[in-house]
């Protein structure tokens, strides 16, 4: 422990604690701009400077550890003046486009300018002339708004291990771009959107497709169907000041209906179907030795893209099962449309996702058109939905709860935990256990695969077998798991795992790239808790016991992994080049 004084207040903190964190302990807020709680400090902005007694210099609170007997001043007229100058300098290289910016009212730079009462342009503006990059259709890069804080770089390179983004040139010409100024679509970007979720400004932003949705809702010929992903329900409330992690499922259904959707479905139903298919695949491979082990989950499109680019040798290990929202999409335009006597050409399916990669997934291969149409017409993020609800004049916080529409809106507890890391594994194990042993699992809460450790491993006794599992989230953590698989393969040994779950985003979809801003581990845990509570509140906690899932199989799909199921619910993968240019 070190003891020191900050603004005269004594603090005791563990060795290595930064001045910033120590100050928070005694209710002192030091302004920051480049530091993000998820990421290591780079010291890029210089806004968090403080004074240490006995030194002429000012140091950065975000990356300077507190030392024994230090006397820190965090605020005095000189410090505030320097901070203001720095903020104004940053603004002199940043467009004044708040009114038309996606980050308006939710922007860390704007907030800082507002807190400091910046009222005039002290320095003339010199803006770089760089065009936005809209090539991916998932996220948009607007380097003009970039303040070179470096967060996205740390995210894309260190957290996600994709290395699509790089910091090019130097000095005033420093800019973010894929290597060699190619477009993001030609780069290894897997569309995870984590960069956009961590950017303090509007320089990286989800491709806003709300206009398309409004247009469809206006179109009398269109029958609008919507589905919401598991993770959306525990995050959307944040846009309306509701407590963090609160489950807003009922309010969401109400809001969507009031916005004009004719059928309000739930991706969780699709998750249950995914589990049924995936658990069958697992049993085939594990018990009947048909197919490669380990089986690897494929419901995260960023992960799929990552595998196709960086681990094509793992294709045979991938579950061919589509992700839940695609399943709801294809069933909407086939099963549901037939039941409703609806021309699928007129059905318009919107998926609301915590995710930017889903915007890519809906067109990623021919299988996403299994209904004969594009199964999902548009995918929007939680953030986009938040804005739409506001535009629709809906007082979300006070909405009553409603139910989803039958049948594709009914889900089990297992379906809902898809939105948090470890959830897919847990849901699949519940079902697989049943399939393999024919009996019920007593304790169905798999604590091993819960929580935020980057890689979680476990061995689950299933009858006379032991199923070895691994869960990784945040693409950085994939390597540790897959290199073991590769090694065992190369040596012709038993696989180290039988079943692997990967989610591209740290924390899983609750921490998705399209979720409301300001994600930290604390928030990930809260959102995750919201989902686990939803699971516990369900009496039905096994995907395969969802009676409506059973019914869809009976009425329409036939057997899991059967012909129809294969045709509609499965997809294939292929190696893709990291760089198209």
């Amino acid at each position: 422990m070190v003891k020191a004084r900050i603004n005269g207040i004594t603090v005791k903190v563990p060795e290595g604690t930064t001045i910033l964190d120590a100050a928070h302990k005694v209710q002192i807020k030091i302004p920051t701009l480049c530091k993000h709680p998820d990421l290591r400090a780079t010291g890029a902005c210089g806004v968090c400077i403080v004074k240490i007694k006995g030194s002429q210099k000012m140091v950065r609170a975000c990356c300077t550890p507190l030392e024994e007997n230090m006397e820190i001043t965090t605020h005095d007229p000189e410090i505030v003046a320097v901070r203001r100058s720095v903020i104004e300098l940053i603004l002199s290289r940043h467009p004044n486009e708040c009114l038309t910016c996606g980050r308006n009212q939710n922007c860390e730079l704007q907030k800082l300018a507002s807190d400091f009462g910046v009222r005039r342009e002290s320095f003339p503006q010199y803006l770089p002339d760089i065009k936005p990059d809209t090539s991916t259709g998932t996220i948009v890069l607007e380097p003009r708004k970039c303040i070179s804080c470096g967060r996205c770089i740390t995210v894309c390179q260190e957290m996600q291990n994709v290395w699509a983004l790089s910091m090019l040139e130097r000095g005033i010409d420093t800019r973010i771009s894929p290597a060699g100024d190619i477009s993001l679509a030609d780069s290894p970007c897997v569309n995870c959107g984590q960069c956009s979720a961590h950017c303090p400004t509007g320089a990286i932003f989800e491709n806003d497709e709300t206009a398309k949705v409004w247009q469809a809702l206006q179109d009398e010929n269109k029958y609008c169907i919507v589905e919401i992903a598991p993770a959306v329900r525990v995050a959307i409330g944040e846009a309306f000041g509701l407590p963090l992690g609160q489950n807003c499922t009922g309010k969401l259904y109400t809001a969507l209906r009031r916005m004009g959707f004719e059928a309000v479905f739930d991706t969780n139903f699709g998750a249950d179907v995914t589990i049924v298919e995936e658990a069958h695949e697992f049993v085939e491979r594990f018990v009947h030795k048909k197919g490669a082990l380990p089986l690897i989950t494929s419901c995260c499109p960023a992960w799929v893209d990552f595998m196709e680019k960086f681990y094509p040798d793992m294709i045979e290990h991938f579950s061919s099962c589509k992700s839940p929202h695609q399943i709801v999409g294809v069933l909407s335009k086939t099963y549901y449309a037939r039941k409703k006597r609806l021309d699928p050409a007129n059905a318009y399916v919107v998926s609301v996702m915590p995710c930017t990669a889903k915007k890519y997934e809906i067109k990623r291969s021919g299988e996403m058109f299994a209904s004969g149409h594009q199964d999902i017409d548009v995918s929007i993020t939680t953030r986009e939905l938040g804005r739409m609800i506001k535009q629709a004049g809906i007082d979300f916080a006070s909405l009553p709860d409603e139910e989803s529409d039958h049948i594709l809106g009914e889900y089990s507890g297992a379906g809902t935990i898809f939105g948090v890391t470890g959830g897919v594994m847990e849901a699949a194990l519940r079902t697989a256990y049943d399939y393999i042993t024919g009996g019920k699992l007593k304790n169905i809460d798999f604590e091993n695969v819960r929580g935020l450790a980057g890689v979680k491993e476990g061995a689950v006794p299933v009858g006379s077998h032991t199923v070895k599992v691994a869960v990784a989230h945040g693409l950085r953590n994939v390597e540790a798991v897959l290199s073991k698989v590769r090694l065992a393969k190369a040596r012709g040994e038993e696989p180290p795992y039988h079943f692997i779950e990967v989610m591209a985003c740290p924390g899983g979809c609750v921490g998705g790239g399209g979720q409301p801003y300001g994600v930290t581990d604390e928030l990930r845990v809260k959102r995750g808790k919201g989902l686990y509570k939803d699971d516990e509140a369900h009496t039905m906690r096994y995907s395969h016991e969802n009676p409506w899932v059973k019914k869809v199989y009976q009425d329409f799909l036939g057997e899991p992994l059967g012909t129809k199921a294969k045709e509609l619910l499965h997809a294939a993968y292929k190696a893709r080049p990291e760089y198209k240019k």
């Binding site: 890029a44 940053i90 010199y126 070179s148």
Partner: protein, 580 residues
């Protein structure tokens, strides 16, 4: 049989540097005379002689010939090399009142010959350390010597070493900072080219003291000769068993390797340098942790300047007391400066600390070449400051220069005379820092750029009095909130010129005049009708065609359109264009 060495250096060339040509000629003639086994011809980096044309120094005799023409080469070969007789008409005798510690061997030993260095008691310092001193004792010796880092900030060398010695690490590193990015300084280059072994020996001593087993010499890629010589020296040291395993029969092991810079001034900053050696972008990182704790590849690392290491080997050889007897109270030993600018004898000078600036500039440097009035001298490179003439009696030392708002820096010393505009100079230095800013932190990246824009405005004749406040405000933000010393120091040239030459700024802003005529945008060009011979040369040369008229009426410049490029002034053969 002892070999004769001929060191060649073009100290003053009207066009191309002829060193290489004359070297080749010499080699040819030596071969023609059949002397190639006895005579070695070497290109020298610096002989301590300047502006004396082609110079050759013959060793071991020590004869110096200056002003050699191609035709003289034959004479030197046949008379001096073959018959050991001087060619008296070429002999040069120059006084040398400097004290040479760092450059003790430069121009005297053949830098490509390890035996030469050893013959001058080379590698005796490390031997003494290994045989007679524990690492602690050796560090103690450095402490007694009072040596401070020559790379700029003057951090006590012993303290740095002792921190690294006490830091925990399974591996430790020593790095020689040979980036020498300060424009207008080339001391380190001369030492690396002229006496690489002294630096290597210094690094060995450092490695021994801190317990490092691996070291790097980080050298600017722009110094190919230095790189070649250092590499040769390393190879020879390995060959002689001075590097590698079990050095000098002890258990001390050390590997040294050359790494190249790639054109980034900021890589002289130690954390950026570490990043660069690691093969990354050379961006500084916050300190602490300091490199002595967490340095190269995350391990404790000592980084010192070339000159610092050259001093270390001297100190271990000659003893701390000898070294400490030179210099001032807080600044011991000597300092090498690269004296350039408007000075008669530009070149390297090594002077004892405490020597007044005036002695360097007037006695050693010979004053201003043009005979014009000296205005100021700039020290400390792009983060340094100007020192006006009235302070020339100040002794050169870390503490005294700081008092004046400048600092020692790595040793650039640039003399400015009446023809120089201080605002323009400040703009020049700032422009350098803006170009070289790594761009990582906002205060430096944007602050420097904005300050430069303000200065451009002033030198373009669009300045306003309040611009000075803007400059001060940005300067404060940069000094306090920049991440590394580049950004923190970048405003210094402006602040110090504003302090000492406020009148110049006032003239530029209020009178819209540049005293020195450097800021051409503030100039007015006019054709003097009486002197004009109507040759039309200016008319055809004006890039914006703003000179009109005819042979009858004469020619006139349209002041509105004139872009002040000065072409007319330059081309007129009759001095008929006036500049004011």
């Amino acid at each position: 049989m002892t070999t004769t060495v001929v060191l060649i250096r073009d100290t003053d060339s009207g066009g191309a540097d002829r060193t290489r040509d004359v070297h080749d000629l010499f080699t040819q003639k030596v071969r023609d005379a059949g002397l190639q086994n006895e005579v070695q011809v070497v290109r020298a980096a610096d002989l301590g002689i300047y502006n004396k044309g082609m110079v050759a120094k013959i060793l071991p005799q020590g004869i110096v010939y200056a002003g050699i023409a191609d035709a003289d080469v034959d004479d030197i070969v046949t008379t001096t090399l073959a018959q050991k007789m001087p060619v008296s008409r070429l002999v040069y005798c120059g006084a040398n009142e400097q004290v040479r510690i760092v450059m003790r061997n430069c121009g005297i030993v053949n830098p490509e010959c390890i035996e030469d260095y050893i013959a001058r008691k080379g590698y005796q310092g490390i031997k003494r350390a290994l045989y007679d001193l524990t690492p602690e004792k050796a560090i103690e010796e450095l402490k007694t010597s009072g040596l401070r880092g020559r790379g700029g900030a003057g951090y006590p060398t012993w303290l740095k070493w002792s921190l690294a010695r006490n830091a925990f690490g399974d591996r430790k590193f020593v790095i020689c900072n040979g980036d020498e990015g300060d424009p207008g300084a080339y001391m380190d280059r001369s030492v690396l080219e002229g006496d690489p072994h002294s630096v290597i020996e210094g690094m060995m001593i450092a490695a021994y003291c801190i317990g490092a087993t691996k070291g790097f010499l980080y050298i600017r890629a722009e110094y190919p000769l230095a790189i070649k010589r250092v590499q040769k020296a390393l190879d020879d040291a390995y060959g002689t068993g001075l590097l590698g395993k079990d050095i000098l029969g002890t258990s001390f092991c050390l590997d040294l390797e050359v790494r190249l810079g790639a054109g980034a001034f900021v890589c002289g900053e130690e954390t950026a340098l570490i990043a660069s050696v690691e093969g990354k972008r050379g961006t500084p990182r916050p300190r602490p942790p300091y490199p002595s704790d967490v340095g190269l590849f995350g391990k404790p690392t000592v980084i010192n300047n070339v000159e610092t290491f050259a001093n270390v080997s001297y100190i271990l050889l000659n003893g701390a007391k000898t070294f400490a007897s030179i210099g001032t109270d807080k600044s011991k030993g000597t300092k090498v400066f690269a004296l350039t600018g408007k000075i008669r004898n530009s070149g390297l000078v090594e002077i004892p600390m405490g020597t007044p600036l005036r002695v360097i500039i007037e006695d050693i440097g010979g004053g201003v070449a043009s005979g014009k009035k000296i205005l100021a001298v700039q020290t400390g490179g792009p983060s340094g400051g100007v020192i006006p003439e009235q302070h020339f009696d100040t002794p050169v030392s870390y503490e005294h220069l700081l008092e004046l708002g400048s600092f020692m820096g790595s040793g650039g010393m640039i003399v400015m005379d009446e023809d120089d505009c201080l605002v323009d100079i400040a703009k020049f230095y700032l422009g350098f820092c803006v170009d070289e800013s790594c761009g990582k932190c906002a205060p430096c990246r944007i602050g420097g750029f904005q300050m430069l824009k303000v200065l451009e405005k002033i030198t373009d004749g669009k300045g306003m009095p309040e611009d000075l406040d803007t400059l001060k405000r940005i300067a404060q933000a940069m000094r306090k909130a920049s991440l590394c010393a580049l950004g923190q120091g970048a405003p210094n040239p402006i602040i110090s010129t504003m302090k000492y030459f406020a009148e110049e700024y006032r003239q530029h802003i209020v009178d819209r005049k540049c005293r020195a005529g450097k800021c051409t945008r503030l100039m007015r060009f006019e054709i003097l009708d009486t002197s004009c011979k109507r040759c039309k040369l200016c008319v055809v040369n004006c890039p914006v065609h703003c000179i009109a008229g005819d042979r009858e009426k004469g020619y006139r410049i349209d002041q509105e359109k004139c872009i002040k490029c000065g072409r007319c002034f330059e081309v007129c053969k009759f001095e008929a264009v006036a500049r004011s």
